[in-house]
């Protein structure tokens, strides 16, 4: 009888597999990234090139675009596993589903949220944001995108196997994203008008903490409902 793997190493393998599958399609990971860049660049195109207007729009445009790009890639978390039957195997694992779900969310964040955090300041420069604003932008996105992946996972799990999922996820998830957006963009806005971003950032932290606790539970429940 062979030795059984420990919980940690099982979880590590789940994480590693999800990342590997995503990287096998590099275009997929690159896509979230480029979507963010392209979509953010659409706004200046639509509004003419008044630099003041751009600077004023920047926090909301960058944050909303980041939010939309995270949202667009949500279906990656579970949909393909559901379509090919792997999800059933995952639910039949000997490890608690909640933990496995958490790993899948982290994998999603590492490959969709994290890259945005890195590239956002670059785009911010194009919108004439100052150094302090850029820092706050990056920090708020770092916390915010993780919260987005966590919250989004619930929507992704609830809509599994339903047609026209893309848009339905959006409806379910966008209202829940709003606090993240308000505090995230609020932090940047605060810096723009010379105030401290601490208030907004700590509220963002609170949202993140709540999401970390509740989202895996809710997602696991949603998954077992979806497979019924």
């Amino acid at each position: 009888m062979k030795k059984k793997l420990s919980t940690l190493s099982v979880l590590y393998r789940v994480l590693a597999r999800d990342i590997r599958v995503a990287l096998r399609r590099q275009s997929d990971v690159a896509a979230v990234f480029f979507f963010f860049i392209i979509a953010a660049s659409l706004f200046p195109l639509g509004s003419g090139a008044d630099p003041k207007l751009l600077k004023a729009m920047a926090p909301s445009v960058l944050w909303v675009t980041a939010l939309l790009s995270c949202m667009l890639s949500l279906s990656r978390i579970y949909a393909s596993d559901h379509a090919d039957g792997t999800l059933e195997q995952i639910m039949l694992s000997n490890q608690p589903t909640v933990l496995i779900v958490l790993m899948k969310i982290l994998a999603h964040w590492a490959l969709s949220g994290l890259p945005l955090v890195l590239v956002a300041p670059l785009i911010g420069v194009q919108f004439n944001l100052s150094g302090a604003e850029l820092q706050t932008l990056a920090l708020s996105l770092l916390m915010g995108t993780l919260a987005l992946s966590l919250i989004g996972s619930i929507g992704a799990a609830l809509t599994l196997g339903i047609r026209g999922t893309g848009v339905l996820i959006a409806i379910l998830v966008l209202p829940l994203y709003i606090p993240v957006l308000v505090f995230g963009a609020g932090a940047v806005n605060a810096v723009s008008i010379g105030m401290s971003a601490n208030g907004a950032l700590s509220l963002l932290g609170a949202v993140l903490a709540m999401a970390l606790v509740f989202s895996p539970l809710a997602s696991a429940a949603a998954l077992s409902i979806a497979l019924e």
Partner: protein, 223 residues
């Protein structure tokens, strides 16, 4: 071959299943002990797949309970899951990964460690020697099924739940799988399976259970 629990029992008490407004089956009772093969029969749509998924705990019965060694499987949850090897009619493999990577992940899910050399051997035995490092997307239907079935050779779990395992397999692979199932049952494993193909399985404890179409007892397509 040895199992973590040397003696075990899967029992179903008064199971019934409802889908939409249809009663698929009711008052199903059975008890499976070491070494038993339960062969589920029935025409298309009589509820075989539904029953198998219930036995895994993936869906809940409309009424009745399923016990594993005397405990309700819903309460056991992960403690029950670590005993079952379920292969549904979907191949359950990720098309972007190679056969080996797929197997490694499947094994990790039940906490089994992965022996690379052994896995290669099994895949070669299954005729996939040339396809070890291809993404499974390009494999033919039958080859995909073989990758999924390789788990039967690699994992060491006492209860197999197989939904039409012979689908898409050619004659040689069918024979191989049949022998594997017989061997497993002889070693004390429990198998629950369905198939529409005629496969003659030799096992001391071979139980057949036929699901009938409750709506049309004298349907014109007699089966």
């Amino acid at each position: 071959m040895k199992f973590s629990t040397s003696n075990f029992e899967l029992t179903a008490n008064d199971l019934s299943a409802v889908r939409g407004e249809r009663l698929l089956f009711k008052q199903l009772n059975f008890s499976l002990k070491n070494g038993t093969i339960l062969y589920l029969q029935g025409a298309n749509g009589t509820g075989k797949t539904t029953l198998l998924r219930m036995l895994c705990g993936l869906s809940k019965p409309y009424s009745g309970v399923i016990n594993w060694c005397g405990n309700n499987i819903n309460e056991l949850a992960e403690d029950f899951h670590q005993n079952i090897l379920y292969i549904g009619h979907l191949p359950s493999i990720k098309e972007d990964l190679t056969a080996l990577e797929n197997l490694q992940f499947s094994l990790a899910l039940t906490g089994d460690s992965f022996d690379f050399a052994h896995a290669c051997e099994v895949l070669k035995l299954l005729g996939l020697g040339k396809a070890l490092h291809l993404p499974t997307r390009v494999l033919s239907q039958g080859q995909k099924r073989r990758v999924a079935l390789a788990r039967l050779w690699l994992q060491n779990l006492p209860l197999w739940i197989l939904d039409e395992p012979f689908t898409a397999l050619d004659v040689a692979a069918t024979e191989l799988l049949k022998q594997k199932i017989e061997h497993f049952a002889n070693a004390g494993g429990v198998v629950v399976m369905t198939t529409h193909q005629e496969v003659l399985i030799n096992a001391p404890n071979f139980v057949q259970l036929r699901l009938e179409d409750l709506d049309k007892p004298n349907h014109n397509l007699k089966n």
